[in-house]
Amino acid sequence: MPTISVHNLNKTYRSPLRSPGIKATLRHLVAPRYRTVHALKNVSFTLQAGEAVGYLGPNGAGKTTTLKILAGVLFPDSGEVKVLGFTPWEGRAQFKKRIALVMGRKGQLWWDLPAMDLFHLLQEMYEIPQSDFQKRVNELAERFRVGNLLTTPIRNLSLGERMKMELIAAFLHRPQVVFLDEPTLGLDVMAQHEIRSLLRAYTKEEGITLLMASHYMRDVEEICDRVILLDEGQIKYDGSLSELKKRYSPMREITATLKGHSPTRCDLPGQNWLVGADGLRRRWQVPRAEVPRLLQALTAQCEIEDLTVREPALEDIMRRFFEKQAGGENALA
């Protein structure tokens, strides 16, 4: 049985339509008008135990809505959801004790108190035995390298340190399923990197089933093996990351810096692959399969100081993917 199964999930919101101006404001008071937003349309997918899946899509695609429904915080309009055998929104304590939701945008820590105080409270709420609790806090604090900050009021911590405390708070009760919503939002590059490697190592070791929504493709690349792409409430792609890259980025970018005395005429054979030239620097975009042949030709032809072959960033792939979607091309299923 899959750990998470979602079948034909639908969710609509009603959002008030408000025009500017006094007349419109008065009209809204008397007879408010609403527009229906389809946040999720027939969304279906399953996650097996221990799987780490990235949930990607532009703003407003329905990512957070899905996570909140799966965590039992929101009701869907229709559809069937089972997480660890429970229907999330029934709100059973047994269910709550086995899941966690971490949101990069919000936190559960008390601003004026140290993290340790909240951990104690969570210990009581989740009924974690004292011996296990102490071990758990030490282990997590050591791993996240915040052992010396446990008694510092949250308001005196950096954003990255705060996020680590949020993650410890979420992992304290050993959840089997974790939902992450933009866990690295607003963090600097160093902190992002650190949080990512911690998350990857930790979820793998504990065999946690993870569904993570993010805007940062690096998050997904480093932590997840599979991605689900969502746009306007519908799933557009569900499969491995490598398959996505293969299908949506058939090209590679070759960048070369030529030696000063190299002939100025230095190009790849075949068609015109050049996409940029700046002094001695050249950039070409070539089909993946052609790379070895073209590189050989290039090195035979001119002297090269520096050479890189780059896969387009997942960001570019995503952009291309969603542009194609908007252009009306068929989605991959």
Partner: protein, 266 residues
């Protein structure tokens, strides 16, 4: 029910309140200014040996000091923590945890009012001393006991109303209006501005039927020994009945609100 977790919430709220102790003391001192004005006024209004609403001068002054203290620990208000959690969606964290949201915030309020109550005693004490000889103590053990019990029930009753008022955030984008009504109308209806017996008879009778009177006016009457054993028992029973009724109402409003919150997306 796992009381330990709520006891811990109370303790954390005490600690959090303690990190703002200067703020608490200041707000109490500033809050005492109208009380000083009120005491000066009533000191002039009630002449020596005169009685007003069945109370002598010392009793009237004591009445205002006691209701002021009760107001600090039990006044129904719009609780900002609840309204902001509902509006900004932080309620999500509470829904994720195995806990009762109403009890959680009762524990928080208890914890943040406790230091208030104690600082409040420290602020009230100089006033009590300033009116010296005429300060009225509860006349009997029964009055002491009744006052203790009714003050406790006041806190619970006040919280039921606070919770109800705060849940309006599920439907209102802005709860300032509700807060304004709560902060101005409730003290009047509860007897903090005037002893209820000074209102015209029909109004006084109507106000006494409302739960607000049970929060300030009733315990103050018990304190001053103005009501006897039977009336104390009846008053305590009424407090308990209001608590039960509001509890049921709150449970229903909470369910409705949650349905809305969960439907609109939080």
């Amino acid at each position: 029910m796992h009381w330990r977790k709520y006891a811990l919430v109370t303790w954390l709220a005490v600690r959090e309140a303690a990190s703002y102790r200067l703020n608490h003391i200041l707000s109490f001192v500033v809050g005492a200014v109208p009380l000083i004005a009120m005491l000066l006024l009533w000191d002039k209004v009630v002449g020596a040996g005169e009685k007003i609403a069945g109370m002598g001068r010392g009793e009237v002054l004591t009445y205002f000091i006691v209701t002021r203290w009760l107001y600090e620990i039990a006044a129904p208000t719009v609780w900002w923590d609840i309204t902001s959690e509902i509006r900004e969606g932080d309620l999500v964290f509470h829904l994720l945890r195995p806990q009762n949201y109403g009890l959680y915030h009762f524990a928080v309020i208890l914890g943040s009012k406790l230091p208030y109550g104690i600082i409040g005693l420290g602020v009230v004490a100089p006033f009590a001393l300033s009116i010296g000889q005429s300060w009225a103590w509860p006349p009997s053990a029964l009055a002491w006991l009744g006052f203790g019990a009714s003050a406790l029930l006041s806190m619970v009753l006040g919280y039921q109303l606070t919770f109800l008022l705060s849940l309006s955030a599920f439907w209102l984008e802005e709860t300032d209006g509700v807060a304004l009504i709560a902060d101005y109308v409730i003290p009047l209806a509860a007897g903090a501005v005037l002893p209820l017996s000074l209102f015209p008879k029909p109004i006084a009778a109507a106000l006494e039927m409302l739960p607000f009177a049970k929060i300030l006016f009733f315990p103050a009457q018990v304190y001053l020994g103005m009501v006897g054993g039977k009336a104390i028992a009846a008053g305590l029973a009424e407090q308990a009945a209001w608590i039960a009724a509001l509890w049921a109402l709150n449970a229903w409003v909470w369910r409705m609100g949650l349905r809305r919150f969960r439907a609109v997306g939080g």
